[in-house]
């Protein structure tokens, strides 16, 4: 199982995480170990396993289309770092 540092750097971008070069090297080595270990299941025959078959007891519950209101809006947004009136305020996003 060969993984390149570039692969790991690309994954970091996807995950929105920043790493130093040393950290990237370490992660690359760790991935190799863990993913190599994973290939131990290669000897198992998984070709015919059908993941789309759904047992009856694993079907979704649904709710009826009824309105509910979360009253305490102040509490709901009390963890926001900055608000403007009832908006959440963030640094400008350029589209």
């Amino acid at each position: 199982m060969k993984i390149s540092r570039e692969d790991v750097a690309y994954i970091a971008k996807l995950a929105k995480l920043r790493f130093s070069d040393e950290e990237l090297d370490r992660l690359t080595r760790e991935f190799e170990t863990i993913l190599t270990h994973f290939h131990s299941i290669d000897r198992m025959d998984l070709e015919n396993v059908d993941l789309d078959k759904v047992p009856v007891d694993q079907q979704s519950v649904v709710r009826s289309d009824e309105k509910t209101v979360f009253e305490d809006k102040k509490k709901l947004f009390n963890n926001a770092k900055s608000m403007r009136e009832t908006y959440i305020q963030v640094p400008k996003i350029i589209e």
Binding site: A15, L17, T33, F38, S40
Partner: protein, 482 residues
Amino acid sequence: MQSDYMSAWDISKGIAEKKFSAVEIVESHIKRIKERDGEIGAFLTLCEDEALAQAREVDEKISGGRPVGRLAGVPAAIKDNMCTDGIRTTCASKMLEDFIPPYNATVVERLLDEDAVIIGKTNMDEFAMGSSTENSAFRITKNPRDITRVPGGSSGGSAAAVAADMVPVTLGSDTGGSIRQPAAFCGVVGLKPTYGLVSRYGLIAFGSSLDQIGPFSKTVLDSALMLEAIQGKDERDSTSYRGEYQKSYTDSLGKDIKGMRIAVPKEFFMDGLDDEIAASVQESIKCFEGLGAKVDEISLPAAGDGLSAYYIISSAEASSNLARYDGIRYGYRAKDYTNIDELMEMSRSEAFGTEVKRRIMLGTYALSSGYYDEYYNRAQKFRKVLKGQFEDVFRSYDLILGPTSPVLPFKIGERNSDPLQMYLADVYTIIVNLVGVPAISIPCGRSTEGLPVGLQLIGPHYGELRILQAAHAFEQEIKLEL
């Protein structure tokens, strides 16, 4: 330490019979926490005022002759990844250091409905990722049985709080062994119920298809009592079990287990298992046979291969579940950034710890295009095969028995450097989460150094009663003094 211990069962009975008041109980437990937790470090938040107010309410109910719940006045502590309305819930992460949920998790509501008293929030590995509680951003929790050692993880705080008699019962969460492994390390009872039996609403997600909340206690009876309180269908959790729930577990304990068929997979006794644990488990098997159970060695071929499938699935789900922590709506926000992308990236990079980042990375990798089929999809297929093998066993057996952990509690700092070594501590517990069945860890012996050994009993889906009956019979038989 044993002298001042009182079980949840005895506390609720005593309060209902007015032998003592809820306030007295809560005050004495707070006092004990203050005396002991400086050394142990089980708690992240102590809710003294709220707890006393709750206790007073319980006392008023009792003095007013009103009915009270089955946990009336019982002090309980909750792992800090379950949301408590108005009380800081941190997941032991710098990311959520100041996070105050505006709602209660369903389990918290259920405990309050039963008149339990929430006394505090317990330490854990950050976002429940770890097996030693060393990954907490805030403090190290020590194993009350030997303070140079880890309490296990990720629910190490909840296990240690019970082991040190600071509270009779706590809640933990178990994604790959996070209740059972610390229970084994701390010498207490820890139960992971069937996936779906206890609502996950308000449990801050790690691996959504694996996460399950369960109790810690000193006795099997207390765990049964806690399970009665917290289980049940929840409209807010789509994965909540919709069938019939066992109304009472506590009523049915004490039944003998003659004729119970127990399977012992030989794969549980292969490389890496500590000799002393192996010996202790063999003793336990003899004890079960003495109780009239029929024990057979069987084979569960996929059991040994579960570890990496588990890490692929749990990390993949975690990478998605933890993406919401971006510094926008709540949680840590980096100080320096030049634009919104940097705000998100820096906030995440600064606030998440090493292990959390490692899993997010592994999970992102496993889901990324070109790798999905090779890893995530194959891991899911493996999971299905594993489920099939468990079902086969449960067609002929009532329970599966084995060690909870392959290793004894290790020294603080000992396994930090090698993630795979740390992951191996979960080898017997993770397969249970992959299959979704219930399992308990109960103390079954001690090593020569006096360290606790845990025994794991695994049941079929919704087989909690069977597990509890067997565990109770075993507990009464061996009468282990820890």
